[in-house]
């Protein structure tokens, strides 16, 4: 998952960045509203964290412009002004949720994950497709009740695919979500990860959870279970 942080306070930005990287996110950062607008236009962002008090371009205005340009990724607002008036303004501008400063990182993380699930159409924090269950909070995966050990990259690919289960996801998209730099877009890497995931989730080759659509990408093929 690729997250854009637009925050002008360097210490806060850096702490958010490092902790989100630890939590398995690919992170883009912007130090003011204008940079934020540029990054929001140019980067394949899955979710953004926007501080409302930004230099150059105020957060509310940034959100309005991104929305006006049809950028639909969920936006989490950070605000020191914790009045309902400000919250309502932020949500009206196009934000999806808010966290008041000072906050605990866990709160931000939980909100981000909830927003991502929501964007993928999931309500609960654990994503269930057939026998495969992925818990976005614990970052664990199980198949038919048995835990499956995944590396960080494997988990991130699976999470991305399961959040958008049923949709076709291109290799490029997966690569962009995994690496913040596009220094090496070696699609073989993705193929290797997908191969490993298939073996780990479906050692007997009966479930066939990941479908390959030649020339277009992959699709998580197991039906979602609502809830």
């Amino acid at each position: 998952m690729r997250v854009l942080i637009v925050e002008d306070e360097p210490a806060l930005r850096e702490s958010l960045r490092s902790r989100l990287v630890d939590a398995g996110f690919t992170v883009d950062i912007a130090a003011d509203g204008e940079e934020g607008l540029y990054a929001g236009r140019e980067c394949p962002v899955d979710v953004a964290i926007v501080d409302l008090g930004l230099p150059k371009l105020p957060g509310l205005e940034l959100i309005r412009r991104l929305r006006a340009e049809q950028r639909k990724f969920p936006i989490l607002v950070l605000t020191a002004r914790d009045r309902w008036q400000d919250k309502v303004e932020g949500l009206q501008a196009g934000a999806d949720d808010y966290v008041a400063k000072p906050f605990e990182f866990e709160e931000v993380l939980a909100r981000l994950q909830a927003l991502l699930r929501r964007a993928g159409g999931w309500a609960s924090p654990s994503l269930t497709c057939g026998p495969v269950v992925l818990d976005t909070r614990a970052q664990t995966v199980s198949v038919a009740g048995k835990a499956v050990e995944l590396t960080t990259y494997e988990y991130r690919i699976l999470e991305h695919m399961m959040l958008r289960a049923g949709e076709v996801i291109s290799k490029t998209e997966l690569t962009e979500r995994l690496y913040d730099q596009d220094f090496e877009r070696d699609s073989n890497t993705i193929e290797v990860f997908i191969g490993r995931l298939r073996r780990k989730l479906d050692p007997d080759d009966r479930l066939k959870p990941i479908e390959t659509l030649r020339g277009r990408g992959y699709r998580f093929a197991l039906a979602r279970e609502t809830g």
Binding site: D82, R83, W84, Q85, K87, V88, L91, Q92, D96, D97, Y98, A100, P102, A114, R117, R118, W122, A123, S124
Partner: protein, 466 residues
């Protein structure tokens, strides 16, 4: 800057000048007309007397006139002159008074004017001249002598009369105008004295020599004085609240700071220390949040506040909350008349309803209901002030509020830093806001099964009920 007094006085002065000017011109004309008429009558009478005093020769032809009747005709320069002449302009007789004075009794064209003529004599005095043509019959053959009897009289008495009249007229008018102006100025001074008093009292307020404006203002200013006092009161309350907030903030932050201090100087291991500091940080954060919210509440009714329509505020919150709780499957039903108006600050209403609704959305299973209505007369009890009251009711079908919280109210016996998150702190905040507005917050069980919160706040007087 302009002065109302000066403006009025200038306009009144111009008005008086025009009015009295016209009056003077008119009266002057009337008086002159009257005086000239009496002058002519006087001359006519003199002419008649002259004709009566005509003296004839043996043949009965007029040769002169007797001056027996009027001594002035005999005295040179007396101011009364007479002449008898034939129609062809030959002077037959002149009164002895004309000696040394040349008077041209004839009109410039040689014809005696029937009307009054005014001529200036060599010495500068003016005379009024009038004459009458007479066909004088004489002798047995009834011969006719065509004669003109003319009389001139000095205008001096007339001029003096006119001058005296004018002096009197203008003097009177100017005096009247000055009197009117002076009385208007006095009236204005008297009328504006409450304004000057207001000014000096406000200056005294600024200087701190006065706390509130005094009473006894006229009806036109009583409203202003009341408004200023209300403004002062609200400002005083605001300042007091800021001071309280700052004081509370500083004092309540000292406790956790002291705990941290003692924890650091104590010999606890790092893990315990971190845990302790984290705990105190959380507490400090709660305190700051609470006090900030309190300070941000505008603090009751302020002058010049536009009434806030309730329905749009609820609608905004509804949209926002549905977005925030998007993953939850529930509905927010609203029943709010568009004519209901809140008498207070929009941000306060948004804050209070935001908290109540957010709680309801968090705790509900599938339904949240918001209603607003004007409080009926039968529903009032002792802790509700007079005036129209708005009842904002938020209900949900969740587990409801713990009995203990409902019984004792959200604030009773709790300090800010002790209130627990969740229902508690939000409700405490809303209760405080309601109190600042002279309203109340009531908790009950909803027919939906969960919690019912009634927020009572002042309604704007022009609210319309359903």
């Amino acid at each position: 800057m302009y002065s109302l007094t000066r403006r009025l006085l200038v306009f009144v002065s111009i008005g008086l000048a025009v009015f009295f000017g016209l009056t003077a011109v008119t009266l002057d004309a009337i008086f002159r007309d009257l005086a000239q008429r009496s002058l002519r009558e006087l001359l006519d009478a003199q002419i008649v007397a002259l004709i009566a005093a005509a003296e004839t020769d043996v043949a009965g032809r007029v040769k002169g006139a007797s001056t027996e009747a009027d001594a002035r005709l005999r005295t040179p320069g007396s101011g009364l002159y007479a002449e008898i002449r034939s129609l062809d302009g030959r002077s037959l007789w002149r009164s002895p008074s004309t000696a040394g004075t040349f008077i041209d009794f004839a009109a410039p064209n040689g014809v005696t004017l029937p009307a009054l003529r005014i001529a200036r004599l060599a010495d500068g005095t003016r005379v009024a001249i009038s004459g009458r043509g007479i066909s004088w019959e004489y002798g047995h053959e009834r011969s006719v002598q065509e004669l003109v009897f003319a009389v001139a009289t000095s205008m001096q008495p007339y001029d003096e009369q006119l001058r005296a009249f004018r002096t009197q007229l203008y003097g009177g008018l100017v005096a009247a105008a000055l009197l009117v102006l002076a009385s208007i100025a006095l009236l204005l001074r008297w009328l504006t004295s409450p304004i000057r008093r207001l000014e000096s009292e406000i200056a005294a307020l600024e200087g701190g020599r006065l706390a509130v404006l005094g009473g006894g203002y006229p009806r036109e200013l009583a409203g202003v004085a009341q408004a200023v006092n209300a403004l002062l009161e609200s400002e005083r309350r605001r300042i007091a609240r800021y001071r309280d907030t700052l004081g509370n903030l500083a004092h309540s932050l000292k406790t956790p700071l002291a705990v941290i201090q003692s924890a650091i100087s104590g010999s606890a291991d790092t893990a315990t220390l971190t845990r302790q500091i984290e705990g105190e940080l959380g507490r400090m954060r709660g305190i700051i949040e609470h006090q900030l919210r309190r300070a941000a509440t505008s603090g009751g009714r302020v002058m010049g506040q536009e009434p806030v329509p309730v329905a749009p505020v609820v609608q905004e919150l509804r949209v926002a909350l549905l977005k925030v709780h998007a993953t939850k499957d529930f509905a927010i039903e609203t029943a709010i008349d568009s004519g209901l108006l809140f008498a207070g600050d929009r941000a306060d209403l948004l804050e209070a309803l935001g908290n109540l609704l957010d709680n309801a959305c968090k705790w509900c299973r599938s339904r949240v209901r918001v209603e607003a209505a004007l409080l009926g007369a039968g529903e009032r009890d002792r802790d509700v002030p007079s005036g129209p009251i708005l009842r904002l009711r938020v209900e949900d079908d969740g587990p409801g509020i713990p009995e203990e919280l409902r019984q004792h109210g959200p604030m009773r016996g709790r300090r800010a830093d002790e209130t627990t998150p969740g229902h508690g702190i939000g409700l405490a905040m809303v209760a405080e806001m309601a109190e600042l507005y002279g309203g109340a917050l009531r908790l009950d069980v909803s027919p939906l099964g969960g919690c019912r919160v009634d927020l009572l706040v002042p309604a704007a007087p022009d609210s319309t009920a359903r």
